[in-house]
């Protein structure tokens, strides 16, 4: 990992006095006082809530009060879990389905990223947009839309297949169906991570490969993809873990087929028939930490002792592969993804939003306007809750995106660009939130922060803090994937030229990682807008967000208003993404 060599920097060129002081502090105090505030912040945001959760998994009573008794510790909950056949079945289903979904998402995500970043394919903007649009739908809405599309008896796809006399039945209520939906909805993560890396890559190695006589394909597979391995493995692990912990997709698509998954089993202990066993749920929730730790160990073994610095001091003009005759076929593959991941689910949503109820027995009914009206729109848009939720969602997402983005940038810098003591520990703390199942995260924040005399409970602030904590792994990875690619020679050159540490960060590093920061901000905003499982524990009618409203409508069986609200949610997300892109473009234009 490239680090700022403080000693090297100190030996070069003139320096201003402020900078010297900083270096002296860094050298004399080992950076302890610099990293300490960050540790305190992360202890409050992450360590403390998850410690409470872990503590809860070793006790019989939920840790609702800030009192700890080590005499009450027991392994009973873990014994019960391991003795349960249901757990092993659920674990097997979870791991296998997530693996299948991850492979699917990797293939599609890397393929789309490569097409848009490194080829002369037509319609790059359309493909780029298509690759991230599935992020605009919360997973449970996507799963609901797919239950309408792919249910074996009346799924719209099956209605069309039957109408055209095709002897196939598409069954979304299966392990394959869940893998498929996982793949579709997690492709954007892979795309965002890998396309960023591909865009920022120094073409020198690829040029060298070409000069050495390698074909375009050989260069792509032997040089390009290995160079973006950090982004690929990071995104693979990220999506795998997210798939393991997501509740809505396996609940909606798995339960009708009697398929158990870890999150659905947790759900039964948290919200099923009383008496509930939250300690058991906590124990199962944190068991994912073991899985995640193994995955992270594998990742570190893969990436050990390899340098992935790809942004050096030279101008970056990525090498473009000419697809020649394959341009159209490749474009069609991208369109297929657009059709399956975007057009089909949104068609269901639009149909549902415009109809009083959704019953499509044949193709004619699909195109019929008989039961169409704007009643669902009227009912949603006339509801004051909708507007409260809309405002809360947008304002919180923007706030968390900006503040969280800043926090993740500082952490990423400390981890990847300094030799501060404890930076590895910092990295591990930041990964922690992703390792815990979503359903129990909300409980962790509730248990941890409710007793603190800081007056945030019942306000939007508790949601904001929970979001910043929850999305630390994703935000940090988005910034870090840019950060690790910056060659130290650029910073060294800056210091040799007389620029101080802060000046180098501001003038050299910050502009270079700006796309990464914007990716992080965008990603965190998207995740905030889509978040449900934590919000449901922490909101009141004053701090309600859109996903909670959608879930509420769904629970009461109002599928039409659900579709309207989900469409509005997608528009919000599209607006936020467009806005950040405009800001990024103007920033980059300003730099030039």
């Amino acid at each position: 990992m490239p680090d700022i060599p403080a000693e090297t920097a100190a030996s070069h060129g003139p320096r201003n006095s402020k900078d010297n002081k900083l270096l002296i502090i860094l050298r004399n105090y080992g950076g302890f006082w610099i990293i300490l505030p960050m540790f305190l912040v992360l202890i409050f945001l992450i360590v403390y809530p998850y410690f409470i959760l872990i503590y809860g998994s070793f006790t019989d009573e939920p840790p609702r009060q800030l009192s700890f008794s080590f005499q009450a510790l027991t392994l009973e909950k873990y014994r019960l879990i391991f003795a349960s056949t249901q757990f092993w079945v659920a674990l097997k289903n979870t791991l296998i389905t997530s693996l299948g979904g991850m492979i699917f998402a990797l293939i599609i995500g890397v393929w789309l990223a490569w097409l848009t970043a490194r080829t002369d394919i037509i319609g790059k903007k359309i493909i780029g947009l298509a690759a991230i649009v599935p992020l605009f739908l919360p997973a449970f809405i996507g799963a609901l839309a797919w239950s309408y599309l792919g249910s074996p008896r009346v799924g719209i796809i099956n209605v069309f297949l039957r109408e055209f006399g095709l002897p196939f039945t598409f069954n979304i209520y299966s392990l394959w169906g869940i893998m498929f939906v996982f793949g579709l909805y997690y492709t954007p993560y892979v795309y965002m991570f890998t396309s960023g890396s591909l865009n920022r890559m120094d073409p020198a190695l690829e040029e060298a490969s070409a000069i050495a006589g390698a074909s375009n394909w050989q260069t792509t597979f032997r040089v390009t993809f290995p160079l973006i391995l950090p982004a690929i493995t990071s995104s693979a692990i990220l999506v795998y873990i997210l798939m393991c912990e997501v509740f809505a997709v396996p609940a909606i698509l798995g339960q009708p087929a009697k398929l158990y998954f870890v999150p659905t089993v947790i759900y039964n202990w948290v919200r099923g028939a009383p008496p509930h066993d939250l300690n058991l749920a906590s124990a199962m929730g944190i068991l994912l930490i073991v899985v995640v730790s193994i995955l992270l160990y594998i990742q570190s073994r893969i990436l050990r002792k390899r340098s992935f610095v790809t942004v050096a001091g030279k101008g970056i003009r990525p090498k473009v592969v000419s697809l020649r005759w394959a341009r159209i076929p490749c474009f069609i593959t991208a369109l297929l993804y657009l059709l399956v991941a975007v057009v089909l689910p949104y068609t269901v949503l639009i149909q549902s939003a415009l109809r009083d109820y959704l019953y499509i027995p044949n193709v004619a009914a699909f195109f019929s306007s008989a039961t169409m009206s704007l009643k669902n729109f009227q009912s949603v848009l006339n509801d004051s809750l909708f507007w409260t939720a809309l405002w809360n969602t947008i304002s919180m997402a923007v706030f968390v995106g900006i503040v969280g983005g800043g926090l993740y940038l500082i952490i990423s810098y400390m981890i990847h660009k300094t030799k501060l003591p404890g930076r590895e520990l910092l990295n591990y703390i930041c990964i922690l939130p992703i390792a815990v199942a979503g359903l129990v995260k909300g409980m962790a924040y509730l248990w941890a922060w409710i007793s603190l005399p800081i007056g945030i409970y019942g306000t939007v602030w508790i949601l904001i803090l929970a979001y910043i904590s929850r999305f630390t792994p994703q935000g940090l990875r988005a910034v870090s994937s840019s950060m690790v690619q910056i060659h130290p020679e650029l910073e060294e050159a800056s210091r040799i030229s007389g620029c101080g540490v802060m000046g180098t960060i501001w003038k050299i590093l910050f502009p270079l990682v700006k796309p990464g920061i914007f990716s992080a901000v965008t990603l965190v905003m998207l995740l905030c807008v889509r978040e449900l499982s934590t919000s449901i524990f922490l909101y009141t009618s004053k701090s309600i967000v859109m996903t909670v409203l959608v879930y509420d409508l769904w629970e009461s069986g109002q599928w039409g208003p659900v579709a309207v609200t989900a469409l509005c949610l997608s528009l919000v997300l599209l607006g936020l993404v467009t806005l950040t892109r405009i800001v990024l473009k103007s920033e980059l234009a300003g730099q030039k």
């Binding site: 339960q255 019942g458 009618s541």
Partner: protein, 363 residues
């Protein structure tokens, strides 16, 4: 020309605002403050002292398991009478709401003045912990004994758990008439159901196990029912035709969908059907006890019950309140109000739910 159009539009908007104001005024005028207390129509809502103190308190916190959109409409109606009493809602599903309240209480920050939960067990736990404040609403005599714990919790309404079928895919003569009919092999793979967990499905299990002689769950299980996580999910599956027959809870918006022309028919089983009864109570530690009393009294009044029945597609247990549109009067139906002792028997609940799940093929 354009100006004329603009004037016309302005005129229409002004007339609209005026009409809206009149309606709002007329609605607000319904609550009358007399020496004996506050009345809506002829019904006493609260004595004058409670009302004046409620105004001083100026608001209350409602913790509810009813869906937010429905509850917000109830609040709007309440506030049209009492605009100075602001209501803040905390809404979650029954189990989540309960856990939230236990955590808040443990942390000393429980703000709830009024609680509505879908499962009697939760309110009974609060009652046993002495977290409920005694309050007898003026409408107390109008509610059946079995549905309330006098002075502590009262039924917000009653939702029928009945049968339903897809009216396009199933002919009326073939439709199930009774619970056991869902076990007919012709419904194999076409039968729907809701996961057993919350208060509604527990009411159904109690009814089937205590009132029906046949092994209904075994018969259903043989048909491999497709289970959904919520009543909402099940209702969408029935309308779309993914399942064609099922047991349903009316709270999932069936009367509303029926009114909109959705292809569903509801069947009141010949051998009777259970009522699922969410309950409302006054919290002991609440800071706004008078506003809370006023709110509970209004909620249980004829006006509150009529509105709630319409919103939730249910019945009121008050005889003088009409059911939701498209529902027959409750008196004409062979309904069953669960015995609270049965509902609160946790051991039996675990046993019966486990047995039913096993019959359905669930672990």
């Amino acid at each position: 020309m354009l100006r004329t159009h603009l004037y016309k539009m302005m005129f229409v908007v002004l007339v609209g605002i005026f009409a809206f104001s009149l309606t709002a005024y007329a609605q607000q005028a319904k609550a009358e403050v007399k020496d004996e207390g506050v009345f809506i129509g002829k019904e006493l809502i609260a004595d004058k002292d409670t009302y004046l103190k409620a105004l001083e308190e100026g608001g209350l916190q409602l913790y509810t398991a009813h869906t937010l959109s429905q509850e917000q409409k109830m609040i709007n109606a309440f506030m049209s009478h009492f605009p100075k009493i602001k209501v803040v809602i905390t809404r979650a599903g029954g189990a989540t709401l309960h856990e939230k309240m236990l955590t808040e209480q443990a942390a000393g920050v429980l703000k709830a003045d009024v609680v509505i939960n879908s499962d009697l067990n939760y309110l009974d736990e609060f009652y046993n912990k002495k977290w409920l404040r005694k309050h007898i609403p003026p409408s107390d005599p109008l509610y059946p004994e079995k549905s309330k714990s006098v002075g502590y919790y009262y039924p917000t309404g009653a939702s029928a758990i009945i049968l339903a079928y897809h009216s396009t895919l199933v002919k009326k003569e073939d439709a199930p008439k009774d619970w056991i009919d869902l076990g007919n092999p012709k419904w194999k793979g076409k039968l729907g159901g809701q996961r057993l967990g919350g208060g509604a499905m527990w009411s159904m299990v109690c009814f089937i196990r205590s009132q029906i002689k046949e092994d209904v769950f075994k018969a259903w299980g043989d048909n491999h029912p497709i289970m959904y996580t919520s009543g909402g999910g099940l209702s969408n599956a029935l309308i779309s035709g993914e399942v064609v027959v099922t047991n349903i809870g009316l709270y999932a918006g069936y009367p509303d969908k029926y009114e909109k022309g959705a292809p569903i028919e509801m069947v009141y089983p010949q051998s009777g059907f259970p009522l699922y009864i969410p309950v409302i109570g006054l919290m002991e530690q609440g800071r706004n006890p008078n506003a809370a009393k006023l709110f509970i009294n209004w909620y249980l009044s004829a006006e509150g019950q009529t509105l709630l029945s319409g919103l939730r597609g249910q019945f009121s247990l008050r005889d003088d309140v009409p059911p939701a549109p498209h529902l027959p009067p409750l008196k004409e139906l062979n309904h069953w109000i669960p015995d609270p002792k049965l509902l609160l028997d946790t051991e039996l609940r675990n046993k019966w739910i486990q047995e039913a799940n096993k019959a359905f093929g669930w672990q």
